[in-house]
Symmetry: C2
Subunit: 628 residues, 2 copies
Amino acid sequence: MSLSPVPFSKVAITGAFWSERLATIIERTIPSQYERLTEYGILDSLKLPQPVPPLQIPENRHGFSTQIFWDSDVGKWIEAASYALSFRRDAQIEAQIEAIIDDLEQAQTHDGYLNCWYLGRDPDNRWTNLRDNHELYCAGHLLEGAIAYWQVTGRDRLLSVLRRYVEHIAKVFGPGDGQRKGYPGHQELELALIKLWQATGDNAALDLARYFIDQRGAQPHYFDEEAKARGEDPSDFWAKSYEYNQSHLAVRDQTKVVGHAVRAMYMYAAMADLAAIDDDAGLKTACEALWADLTERRMYVTGGFGPSASNEGFTSDWDLPNETAYAETCASCAMVFWAARMLNLDLDGRYGDILELALYNNVLSGLSRDGTQYFYDNTLASDGSHRRWDWHPCPCCTMNVSRLVASVGGYYYGTNADGIAIHMYGGARVSLEVGGAGVTLDETSAYPWDSAIRIAVSPDQPVEFCLSLRIPAWSGQSTVRVNGVPQDVAIDRGYARLSRLWSPGDVVEVQLQMRPKRLWAHPLVAADRGCVALRRGPLVYCAEAVDNDVAPDLVRLPDSGALTAEASDILGGIVMLTADAAAMQTSDWGADLYRTSPPTTQPTTLRLIPYYLRANRSPSAMRVWIET
Amino acid sequence: MSLSPVPFSKVAITGAFWSERLATIIERTIPSQYERLTEYGILDSLKLPQPVPPLQIPENRHGFSTQIFWDSDVGKWIEAASYALSFRRDAQIEAQIEAIIDDLEQAQTHDGYLNCWYLGRDPDNRWTNLRDNHELYCAGHLLEGAIAYWQVTGRDRLLSVLRRYVEHIAKVFGPGDGQRKGYPGHQELELALIKLWQATGDNAALDLARYFIDQRGAQPHYFDEEAKARGEDPSDFWAKSYEYNQSHLAVRDQTKVVGHAVRAMYMYAAMADLAAIDDDAGLKTACEALWADLTERRMYVTGGFGPSASNEGFTSDWDLPNETAYAETCASCAMVFWAARMLNLDLDGRYGDILELALYNNVLSGLSRDGTQYFYDNTLASDGSHRRWDWHPCPCCTMNVSRLVASVGGYYYGTNADGIAIHMYGGARVSLEVGGAGVTLDETSAYPWDSAIRIAVSPDQPVEFCLSLRIPAWSGQSTVRVNGVPQDVAIDRGYARLSRLWSPGDVVEVQLQMRPKRLWAHPLVAADRGCVALRRGPLVYCAEAVDNDVAPDLVRLPDSGALTAEASDILGGIVMLTADAAAMQTSDWGADLYRTSPPTTQPTTLRLIPYYLRANRSPSAMRVWIET
């Protein structure tokens, strides 16, 4: 029986780890993103009408032309800002959003259409190139922003704009006579439409999401027909294969994660939603096959994936180069969305483990400590030249991190008629209904730095339900106590399930094992052969040169030996890992490039920091995988 | 005191190894190259006049446009074929060369100019783009071909054509008023002019070579001025830096090997020639610095170099990726030319060691066993998809291998007034003059498969001279006997020097140590860290999947343990290496991509073949560097 997620707005984040990230997002990231949206002309691009002739597209002062995905960036910023407003209302931010809504309202045509790039640059050619352009994608992000703003503020002006747009889209696309048989070239609208249905009960929106998912990959191929209608040869498609946008097959027939990674993840998230909503076994089976393919053959140890810059996506099994890892921040954000849906569809800790892995590592890596700089791509090794950006020509990742972190509480809990599942730890309080009673859960811990977790379970009155506690696979032997009494509880697919009559004052204590551990990659992952990575709890570690006497790529970490975790006050306070290692010597090598004896080594201590905190100090070589 | 090389034409190759390669070149390679030159329209491109309008360049049936370097390919084929003729005259080949000479004679203009691409396509713009086009380069290869044909056949018609061309070039370029201050954009002519001087005493040719070398890199930069004269912005040069063609600095100020690798090596060879001819300490010092830079920081273990396809050349120190190694065959051929000149300039075994390394490995890798297929780039690892070509759009490497192998005897010996140096072994007989007496040396060995070398020294009459025998650095302890008596001979910079009165019937026996050895790369070579390569004598080995039960990239070869050399009849008869190794297991790994225990291994025997013989059987994964 599937679970419903508990929305972030009901969850109070109380733990230090996420409170710090949330405060940074609210105080630094959201305002600085607004500055960048202004500075780069993105907000100005919404100020219509006056069509600009297509061949005279102005360059703004940073040299970017106005780009077809800018509406989506605005939508994502509104979404992130709205989530932030739920923690702390802010008149200035609200005024900024209202001004954007003015522009969007003004831009929308009478029939409901609303894409500022087309309206401004090429108004006669709307809906002529779903394959390459981003109208439906932009619609999705604007819709998500509108829903969030309405949910947090109660103001429905933007939502009304977007609902008119959705009505227009539902007229243009669909199975009926005279309707276009198309679907997004960049998936995203599907899951936004499902959110709209969830928030408003708008069945037409759900039907449209279903249509987009079911229609995808049908023959004759829509993108072929559309290209021909433009007078182009479909085989001239730059990406060569419709694997790029996952329309090479009907979605139910897909078993390999292929193509552009972000497109793929948004689509899988919508498929998981529909699998739950419609109890659709075909979609669930496809999701499971795709999940296995991603996590068993195509995912970095940091929860990133999509190694290639050329397609921003997948290549071949086991191809996970470290120095050139693309591992886009957006893709991991989108995978968190998918993982959360899989977890609530079918409570299994492996979804939670990967959700957590991606969130704490590849996702958080995308945002600097100070909340104003970003990584679009997340390499697992660097000579020090891979540095954070103030902004990016395609700023998609910046607001994907902020909207995800600002709503992180939404990934903590799932509920259904039988009980409550706790997916994440780190200090959070929530009040829920279960079995007809109100229950408050107050979880306190220093997670992810410490593994002692205390949950005060406070029902209004004694009530029986199952409390499912995620026991991460990395934890090994864990203990669960209720009111101090050890529980002999079996772990069922990654969850300790405590079914009992819960009474006010009950306390659950979970003690996970958080010893640092070595990880090895599957031998077919050529890039990681002969290397180990270190992990403690949900955090994967990396060695940065700035913490070490020796360049990380000259260090050899033996296959065994003690790993020590110790608190450090660097980087705002972390748990650092140290290990006895050997430093390859270069000073005694001599002039020969090749010689008949191996390098000599000297003992050294290798110090490692959490991967997500890399590149927050002076430029410094970095490695996740250390040679053995 | 420098040595003079003994020309290949005086050296009889008697050993099995080179005799087989020579016979293949003569019987298969030279005729098949003529077929390819015909088939691809290269020989037709010499058939002038009738200028073809520049904008109507015909495509030949293989889709290549006529290319500006085709004259050079014809020149190299004539050179290679001429060397082959010295072993066995062949009326058909001679008729083919004579027909080419007819065309060249016909194409040459009254003023001596002779570049078929310009004459055919763009006759009014000769000498306007030395930077990018290849007029002087083509002249060099045609000149080398002409010298070779004349030396072998005594026929001077082609040499006369080229000497008229050289006279023309010497009028156009030089320090005088009204002369252009240019030099080759692709070096090569310099060393050809020196060959002409060596063969004919033509001082004007030597002066021109000196001018080209001395003028290179002078300010104002010729390629800047030339670009402006074409109405171009010099900074639009596609390669961005004049490092590409080594004109960024005066040659005497150059200390780093940079840019296009073949251009560099041809230039260094000419610099070494001039250093010897002019006793020019500045050029010798520059050559020594460049040699150290190449061999100590920028050379593959196979004697290849220039890792990057984008500039066909050098990148940065220690950057030696294996899977993507460009390591152009031509570059190693050209380095053999340079090494031979360094060796005779300053008898030091390290030049001979690298000459031999490049020749037996990266150079020979460029030609298939059957003599009709080629590698342009020589990777040190492949998944099996890196296969030989029947021909190449730029066929430079094909004839560079054939001309080098067909003249390999020219690299065996050096002489001066004091004596004779033997640089190479493998079965060869030569008759020389030393100290006024005639001396025949008859070296017999099964080198490179076996390390027992016997040299019959047969002077016409007793004569005192120093016989210097190269003792490769890989050999370790070696023994030298004269007439059965062990000699207590010190190794002076890689040579055992035997100064004595030599009498008819004297026999020198050298016993080298040819045990297989592990090689490690300098720790800063990231691509080879944690790996070993195997070498026996001059041959570097590689593991091909076809000889092994396990894919080479799943094999781990321990840092120590026995390596066995044993004769095998595969690939025409080789010494194969075998080693006890461990095969990483994938079948017991399970579904996880990452886990907390290392891969299990099973004992296996790793079998390796000489690198130069790779890719002569079915497609097969291959590695030179094996993980430890």
